[in-house]
């Protein structure tokens, strides 16, 4: 019995790590996606400075998501990574470019534009790849025995492209609302404008993905629309509508903080929707969390670490954000 409970506990832990990654690296990847829209050097310096002290910590959640998946659900990790081979490699290479650009662009004057391009290119590639990977997981992969049995281009479908583009839009919205919160003056005005644009695009993307998902598998349709499930699942679109209304209002009233946190709420709801579609599968329609679960003693051993350390990590991460709180002014930087 204990094994069943542990699998659910770990599914929530991994889901939590991935969600924290999505929202935290989401806004700094979003800044990369928005970079070409801010061609002026002084704007770009400010944009970079809003995340320079924290981007590395944000990305660590991705390592926890991957490492945690390997440790808690090794079978899922072993099936999904080869299935998502190309998107994963592209994501990693994108993150290499975008990560080094944080440091390299300050070390050169001549080549700064090249690293700005690397920052943009790496960010958008990594985001596309993550979105495509998400779509590829949702549409399911071909499994035989304990191994992935499909080809190395199976992930590429119109649906996975849709989810890839949707995530680019979503991260751009996170980035734009982050800038609203962290900057001022003319830069912030443009960030408001971009928030409008990407919010509308994001609503379109949420609608498109939501409409397309039930057609992937009959199980998804039943999960969302069968009686009495629908009583519960209908709460999600209703909540999306409420959050959207609040978000539109906060943008209209030019609030500083609300747009970002409401966008986070929008992400959380979309993420909950994904969870509703997938549960209890970790590889949809092939492998459940119980089938993929690591042996009990591995999961228990790690549970001690997670229970003790995650609160501590959240604590000192919050402190780091607190140290660098407030608006980043042009020319002030961090000395």
């Amino acid at each position: 019995m204990i094994a069943i409970d542990l699998a659910i506990v770990w599914a929530f832990i991994i889901a939590f790590a991935v969600f924290v990654y999505v929202v935290m690296d989401g806004f700094d990847l979003g800044l990369g996606i928005l970079f070409p829209l801010f061609p002026e050097k002084h704007d770009r310096d400010v944009i970079m400075n809003t995340v320079a002290p924290v981007w590395d910590g944000n990305e660590t959640w991705l390592v926890l998501g991957g490492g945690g998946l390997m440790a808690a659900f090794p079978l899922a990790y072993a099936v999904l990574m080869p299935a998502l081979y190309t998107p994963m490699i592209v994501m990693l290479l994108g993150l290499v470019f975008r990560g080094v650009a944080f440091e390299f662009r300050w070390r050169t004057t001549k080549e700064r534009n090249k690293w700005d391009v690397a920052f943009f290119g790496g960010s958008i590639l990594a985001t596309l790849a993550q979105g495509i990977a998400l779509g590829a997981i949702l549409q399911g992969v071909h499994v035989e025995g304990r191994q992935y049995a499909g080809g190395w281009w199976d992930w590429l479908t119109p649906f996975s492209i849709l989810t890839g583009v949707a995530l680019v839009i979503g991260y751009a919205l996170l980035g734009a609302t982050w800038l609203v919160m962290k900057t001022e003056g003319e830069l912030r005005d443009r960030a408001y404008h971009l928030s409008w644009v990407f919010l509308l695009a994001m609503l379109g993307a949420i609608a498109a993905v939501s409409l397309a998902t039930p057609f992937l598998h009959v199980q998804y349709t039943e999960r969302w629309f069968a009686w009495p499930n629908v009583l519960l699942t209908a709460q999600v679109p209703i909540a999306v509508a409420v959050i959207t209304a609040l978000l539109l209002r906060s943008l209209a009233k030019k609030y500083d903080y609300q747009p970002f946190f409401l966008t986070l709420a929008l992400f959380a709801l979309s993420y909950a929707g994904l969870g509703i579609s997938m549960f209890p599968y970790i590889v949809p329609q092939s492998i459940t969390i119980w089938q993929a679960a690591a042996p009990t003693n591995s999961q228990i051993f790690m549970l001690f670490g997670v229970a003790g350390l995650i609160p501590l990590i959240l604590g000192y991460t919050a402190w780091a954000y607190w140290v660098f709180r407030g608006k980043v002014k042009p020319g002030s930087g961090y000395h």
Partner: protein, 469 residues
Amino acid sequence: MFEGWDAVVLARAQFAFTMSFHIIFPAFSIGLASYLAVLEALWLATGREVYINLFQYWLKIFAVAFAMGVVSGIVMSYQFGTNWSTFSDKVGPVIGPLMAYEVLTAFFLEAGFLGVMLFGLKRVGPRLHFLATLMVAIGTLISAFWILSANSWMQTPTGHTVNADGQFIAADWLKVIFNPSFPYRLVHMVLAAYLTTALVVGAVGAWHLLRDRHLAGPRVMFSMAMWMATLVAPIQIFAGDQHGLNTLEHQPVKIMAMEGHFESHKHGAPLILFGLPNQAAGRVDYAIEVPKLGSVILKHSPDAPMAGLDTVPRENWPPVAITFWSFRIMVGMGLLMLALGMFSLLMRLRGTLYDSRLLHMFAVAMAPAGFIAVLAGWITTEVGRQPFTVYGLLRTVDSASPLAAPAVASSLIAFIIVYFVVFTAGMIYLLRLMAAPPHPGEEGPSHEAPIRTAGITPAAGAAVEGAAQ
């Protein structure tokens, strides 16, 4: 294209390539983080400006090297799944938790405090800032602890059983973590990281002393680095010897390959200094050897019998030539480090540490020696444990992902191109930072237009620093 290639060989090449690039950065940043903590502690204790200048100088270099380590490390954490999925399924329950603990106890600690360490001195004050530096330094060491535990378990697996699905499961976590080769590997690697950093710091100091032997910063860093070489190089050689004896006990076949012992020796084995291992013929061609010395070193007795590879089925032989030569390169570098340490001690005792151009040139030439030794040492231990991923239990060919060769070949080429572009640029920026001497009023990695090029004189810099305090 690539249809005739073996996907497993390509996956191994990819792991070797990405790992070799990656290890360079942690090897440097483990040592540098500790060095920065020492510099900041000295500054807080003495208030001498030279220490904070050196701190800020090396902090800029640390920031660039650390970023490269982070991005190349994320690649590693996903490569287990992409290219070695069968391994991940079978071994994930044992080494997965060790790596998860590395993330939880080390990576978050480093990343969480890095921002404050790099940009936060003025915001949080010197004491809290020192705490952040200390956390980053401790984080790098905790990281080494877990990842070397995972690696060592793959070399000398203990404390596990196998379940019905063919997965390894831990029976006793303490035995898994503190497996027989782990303490030796941990000590050997951490010392290697400290030496690697000391050689870089020493070379940079020497480089600037060659131009002007009166510069305060370069004098301090050169002296500190040479103390490290003097004291730690002999300890490292001793630690390496102990690690070798541990390997002889648990992975004797690796030692046979390192020593080039194809044949068994009943009455004392020779030490083969050099030669060309011939794996097909099972002998070392053109061997230059010292009779009985192999048994003296490994068994502490000239006539002790030593088994050779002729006692091992051929399908369990590691690639002997690579193991044999990489081991010699590592040992050679270690001996050169010892020579540098002793030479500098001699000059120090004669009072010419800052004047001996020969010593400074030697130190500059030794800048890459630590990296070469680290790479050669890892090649020795990783190639020497072939053909297994989990020693004696899971073969490398049975560990790979069910991928077609073109997929692995394409990603390998992509990694090679991207790494060469990115890390070449990074190296140039690092060398550029090191080419300028530290000066009074040194700035940290402030993310602003480089003020130095605007022509701030040292005096003005000192005035800025004075005003800020």
